[in-house]
Amino acid sequence: MLISVLLGFIFPILLLLINKRLKEKLSVFYGLLPLGLFLYFVTRLPIINSGEIIAVSTPWIPSLGLEFSWRLDGLSLLFSLLITGIGTLIFFFSSSYLKGHHYIDRFYSYLSMFMAAMLGVVLADNLLLLFIFWELTSITSFFLIGFNNDKKESRKSAIIALSITGGGGFFLMAGFVLMGHIGKSFSIQDLSLLSYNIKHHDLYWLVLLFVFAGAFTKSAQFPFHFWLPGAMKAPTPVSGYLHSATMVKAGVYLLARLTPVLGNHDYWNITLMIVGGVTMLYSSYHSLYRTDLKGVLAYSTIAALGILVFLTGIGTEHALLAVSVFILVHALYKAALFLIVGIIDHETGTRDITQLSGLKEKLPFVGIAGLLAAFSSAGIPLTFGFIGKDLIYESTLHLGGLLGIGLTALAVITNIFVVYAGFMAGIKPFMGKLPKRLEHIHMPPASMWTPPLILGILGLLYGLLPAIPGQGLLRFTATAIQGYSIDIPLKIWHGFNIVLLLSAATIAGGTLLFFVLKPSHGHLERLERYSAVSPQQIILKFARGTEKLATWYTGFMHNGFLRNYVLTIMIFVVTILGYKLFTRVPIYINPTVLSDVTIYEVAVSIIIILSVIRTVTTSSRLSAVAALGVLGYGICLLYVFYSAPDLAMTQFTIDTLTVVLFVLVLFKLPPYLNFISRGVKIRDMTVSALFGGLIALIALQVLNEPVNEETSIFYAENSYVLAKGRNVVNVILVDFRGFDTMFEIVVLTIAALGVYSLLKLKIDITEKE
């Protein structure tokens, strides 16, 4: 399974190696990657359907409790199949949709990395591993949403999406760490066994808060929903992929996955019901006002996510089965609708609902796909959506009492709006008379209209034969969410009962709304009057405030003067160290431990002091630098006296090079002018005297402490035995702590590149001017 996840990350690297023109020609074949993965997961179906679970684990960083542990159960397999299956269709669709696009290779790289990250999220059994992939989905989707990076809008919505989901990820990490702390394990499997302890821990509410913050931001729940409509700036196949089966479902997946660990507690159920309920009503109502087809779909997607969260919150067997079914239902019809909108946009150049009608003559197959998808989303009998909707009503009705009736009403109203949204996107553009303006359009290539058609037909097929998914995968999905076996068969016909009545009412209501309510731009304007109090504005205001604070802070602390940086650092160090030293440590200098002073040391010290005086009093830069060099050499001599030849050699060469560097730069500067006032001089003198005095005091204090010689003895004893070297310093550098050195030379490289690029860049700018 590790390979199946990694393939998506290896693919972009392979793409790098192919020549640009070949990349375009080959783009049709890129779909073979998700197709292969899809087939792989299909072959796992019989295993899962027999009730088994596949678990594989490879150690990664055992000391941190981090391992590549994968677990394939019903829930993961459902998601894996959706991710790779819809991924395959999206891959093929995009090869035509983005034909001739300049950055098509980039697009496929982002897409395959995103797919791999999603697979990682749903397959991981280790919370930390899951979190890594969770963050990777945020990052890769950032690139996908901002794919049209020459448009300001696109960049803005990508940043909003990243900050909302990334911010949520931050909380999620805290939640995971807390869970790991309480349960002493990061394995979801282990944690679900400890469910009782976690739910009765004092910090349970905090874990919930953090996990919810992560899941709600990712799954666009109210009040964080607004990044999702913004993300519609992405190319349509991306929206179709991100919002039907993957990115936004990750939050739902997480909630479902953690239900056995955290669920079945009042806090969990009630919060999810409230948040999901508010989200589904709010956004399904909003979808009525949209005229942009993708806007309609965006809001109905949020509504669907709200329904899923709501059902997870109800948490009964029926509700969890409804979650499993509705995930599949929604993925099938929503991906189809997005692709259809993509085709319409691609062929007609507009997504404005008021401009589109009568396309059935020109785009027949697309129309059929649209009809199927819209029917499934509306829950017309014989489609899979019908079964999904039935289960929703059944699970709310099962609650009984006033609560059951209230929640059922809520679900019915939401679903009426969803019916409307589905009809708007799937049927409206194809109905009526074809405007003159659109007479020139023609069918897109088969690779574009086949994917939505396949999805539509699947929606119908599963509706006619619900036992295929119902007795197999979906049953085990619900089982995985619930934690114990669920066996409720899916049926087309439940007989005449209240659920059927509600279904009929929903369809009738939605159809009525569809014929009565004509989309117009006016509705949207009316809605915008309230935008000042919308969550979007409030959160964006908060973001702008943060930005202002950051600008002010950066301006204050990073003012560009090196001397101020040094001053700040010194004052900080003196304050912190001084505070600790004088409040916690008895100051005592023991003269007996000090070694005798030799004549050489006195001589060198005098030289050092003289060169310091010269440095600060001279009126020439060059002589100041030379004096500093002398000071450095003096210190090297002290190293030699105290038998640290390696250190002395290095310091000696470094000092030489520093002086050379200074001379190179200072040589060109105009003559030295003294701008510094008396006050500044006194300030600097005080700070440096305090700093020097404090360090000296600490050095003397350290002598009072018993020295732990274990480390130095270890190195002295082992350097020849283990590493065949007699120079302990060198052996530490190249062997014992070799990794540190490796990274140090990398840092050195980065520094050299930094200097090179900064200075060269500057030269270029002046040349241009």
Binding site: D646, T653, L664, V665, R726, M742, I745, V755
Partner: protein
């Protein structure tokens, strides 16, 4: 600084200093020295040459831009890090040693190659920085 004495002296000093820096590099495992100090010394040798002849001439004399040493050095170091992992399936950075010592140098092991990498990176990075800075002040 166009002193003939310095020019002539630096012509002779450059090979001697470079040889010395290599000597420091090689003895590092047993006596004070090592790749880092060796690299810095080699850089100083070139800087001295640049002072006497002008930087352009030094660059010309070096034939390749010093920045080229950086990736080469990094690769050698990295190679010696992961060679045990790839060749012998041992943890990365395991010290590998030849059995028989070479004359003059002594025992040769992966640590030496690691140090040679450090040496090259230090030479490359130091000279790149110095040359770039002095170029930009012209």
């Amino acid at each position: 600084m166009k002193s003939d004495i310095l020019k002539t002296a630096s012509d002779y000093l450059l090979p001697v200093l470079l040889l010395f820096s290599v000597f420091i590099l090689l003895r590092g495992h047993y006596l004070p020295g090592g790749g880092f100090v060796g690299g810095l010394m080699a850089s100083i040798a070139f800087v001295l040459h640049a002072f006497a002849h002008g930087m352009d001439n030094t660059l010309k004399f070096m034939k390749y831009h010093p920045a080229i040493f950086i990736p080469i050095g990094l690769l050698i170091s990295l190679g010696s890090c992961i060679a045990p992992l790839i060749l012998f399936d041992m943890p990365a950075m395991t010290g590998l040693w030849f059995d028989t010592p070479m004359p003059v140098i002594g025992l040769i092991g992966s640590a030496l190659f690691f140090d040679i990498g450090v040496y090259l990176v230090v030479v490359g990075a130091t000279l790149t920085m110095l040359f770039t800075i002095s170029e930009s002040t012209d």
